[in-house]
Amino acid sequence: MTAPTPAPDRVTARASGRVLPSPVTGQELVLIGVIALLWVALTIFTPAFLSASSLQSLLVRLAPVGIMAIGMTCVIITAGIDISIAATLMVCAVVTAKLLTLSGMGAVPVILISMALGCFLGAINGLLISYGRVPAIIITFGTANIFQFIGLRIFNSQTVNGIPPTLGFLGPGQAGRVLGVPYAFMLMVVLVALAWVYLRHFPGGRHLYAIGDDEQAAELAGVNVRRHVLSAYALTGLLVGLAAQVTIAGGTTTLDQSVGRGQELATIAAVVIGGTSVMGGRGSVLGSVLGALLVQTVATGVTQLGWPTQLANLFVGVFIVVAVGADLIRERYARTSV
């Protein structure tokens, strides 16, 4: 990789005494604009879109991908990737469902167990990647298969039926919202806010960017690279364990083996549309969540317009190309103008 050239906004930032890039990037502003346009258009063409129930269900369905995207953003900022989150989600979801149906445990212990389990699986990834010094994409391809095996063994070729509504407060139902706003969505917003502040203003967060920019330079500058990389993957697993709770709460009383399928690519898509660079060193959780919101809006819109559901994925593909393409053009422009 070539040495990173300072973007113009960083140059002006230094001149005015700031060292951080501006709090909202251009990509995020454009995303907000596109989402606003889509919402207006959808409201005009399908009156059902702006109804409270439609929006509430959109926000609840947004939450799992949004929560996982926080962890994935941290991982991608360190120039890594985690393909195994769909399998982790499956393991956490089936363990949660079994605990709820068989032991009748309360919500709090179940959530804690699931998060601990996710964190453990994520830590396995992190250990292999940071101490085994192996490309993240290969390791997580491998562990995805292993975790999937574990999940399917726990399923034991049967769906889990009759899941009690213990986690209803995270779901789309009446129990899951206050003043019309779903708890699952609020949970996601709080987590995003925490992650945003941490990544921007805490040394640990800045170290993640440093590692993604140039791992060796970070190491030489005294950053404990291995520990930071390990904790990024463990955090991702932990958040996947939490997302599994929202997935179960948002589903029916039956859980089948397809849970989580395709979520790894959906989460990566959200992160990438949000302007996080897969080369590492650049990105924000705000963008990732906006990316997830854009994808969910399109999915909802396509359904409500009566178009074939699968058409939504075509738009996801186009959005990825447009978002990353715009970023590439901006970068090229920045490089030539400095």
């Binding site: 990789m1 990737i81 393909i83 292999l128 085994g132 010094r133 192996v134 490309p135 994409i137 290969i138 390791i139 391809f141 491998g142 562990t143 995805a144 298969n145 292993i146 975790f147 999937q148 095996f149 399917l152 063994r153 070729s157 690519l265 990566i268 898509a269 990438v272 897969v278 080369m279 074939p308 699968q310 058409l311 939504a312 994925n313 075509l314 996801v316 593909g317 186009v318 990825i320 190309v321 990353v324 393409g325 590439l328 090229r332």
Partner: protein
């Protein structure tokens, strides 16, 4: 990308001080196992078959694990190995090369084949050419995005994975095409006896001869006997050096994606004949075809950093996975078999990756 961490598999690593006697022979063997992927895969393959034979002999398997069972399982080898070769080309092309979209191209090109051959009654040869060409066109989109516009390959092919997947499902309202001409193609996946070897070697699936072997030979000739192949490895090893050497970096890299797309188009025809139906989810159902194909390529010693990888490694890796999978199916009843296949694939992949890391640190002089 750190170019200094690369090492050539075919090249012998710096020799440590010579020792004599059996310990020296042992350490030579150990080094060969670690540094030469072909040796490792051959040993693993032999161990796997011996292990399965042992299980068979002690009565753990539900059916005999014999030569005829092993050759009949080769039918599963055809599509995945072809796609693994496609991934070989793309990964070797460097700059984080990877193609997540091959499974979706299989689905979409398969639907195109279903339309042209099964519904519009085009002649078979024309329909096949059209399907392969269509696959190449899908690959061209990837190639242009990656090589000319500078998209990270993971992202570009993630986008086209979604786009092609969606188009394949929407184009015929999610319905498969199984008209009579398509059903008649089922014969292509039957087993044939080789004349002269009748009775010695059991029937081998026809697809191995008419699809897999030609693809293997063409890809092998392409990367080891043509100037394009040398350019591809040069571009994959070091972008900048290749540019200064006067190579058309973008065109060489884009070509890898185009060929991968064409191979995926050919795989589409294989899957249509195996299912006797053009299914819109042929390459994307379940875990899809792209991830197993990438797994095989990586296991075969293709370095994800580019510029490194051989056809024989990919073939051995594919053979290892297919034969072990077939054995596992006999060892476990019901769904458990396919689940243990996942476990084995994951463990082998993680093991191979860790081994690569150790090899690099031990023998290449770099501590990364």
């Amino acid at each position: 990308m750190n170019t200094e961490t690369r090492e050539d598999q075919t090249q012998t690593p710096p020799q440590p001080p010579e020792k004599s006697g059996p310990s020296a022979r042992l350490s030579t063997l150990g080094r060969a196992l670690l540094t030469n992927r072909t040796v490792l895969l051959v040993v693993l393959l032999a161990l796997g078959i011996i292990w399965m034979k042992a299980l068979d002999a002690s009565g753990y398997l539900s059916a005999p694990y014999d030569l005829s069972y092993m050759t009949s399982s080769l039918v599963n080898l055809v599509p995945l190995t072809m796609l693994a070769l496609a991934e070989l080309l793309v990964i070797v092309s460097g700059r984080g090369g990877i193609d997540l979209s091959v499974g979706s191209i299989v689905s979409l090109a398969g639907m195109m084949f279903g339309f042209t051959y099964g519904m519009w009654g085009w002649p078979l040869a024309v329909a096949i050419l059209f399907t392969v060409g269509f696959g190449a066109l899908c690959g061209l989109v990837n190639g242009v995005l990656v090589a000319y516009l500078g998209f990270p390959p993971l992202i570009a092919t993630l986008a086209t994975y979604y786009a092609y997947w969606s188009l394949a499902l929407v184009i015929n309202q999610q319905q498969p095409i199984s008209s009579q001409p398509v059903v008649d193609l089922y014969g292509l996946s039957e087993s044939v006896e080789i004349t002269g070897l009748k009775g010695i070697i059991p029937g081998i699936p026809l697809g191995v001869f008419i699809f897999l072997l030609p693809t293997v030979v063409v890809v092998w000739l392409l990367i080891s006997k043509t100037s394009y192949g040398r350019k591809l490895y040069a571009v994959g090893t070091n972008d900048t050096a290749a540019r200064w050497a006067g190579l058309e970096v973008a065109r060489t890299r884009a070509m890898a994606y185009v060929i991968a797309g064409a191979v995926a188009g050919l795989v589409a025809i294989v899957t249509v004949s195996q299912f006797a139906s053009a299914r819109p989810d042929a390459g994307t159902s379940g875990n899809g075809m792209a991830l197993p194909a990438i797994t095989m390529a990586v296991l075969g010693g293709v370095a994800i950093t580019g510029g490194l990888g051989r056809v024989v490694g990919v073939l051995l890796a594919a053979l290892l996975i297919v034969l072990l999978n077939a054995g596992i199916l006999l060892a476990f009843s019901g769904n458990a078999g396919s689940q243990y296949q996942l476990l084995m694939l994951g463990l082998i992949l993680v093991g191979a990756a860790l081994l690569n890391g150790i090899t690099m640190r031990k023998y290449s002089g770099s501590n990364r």
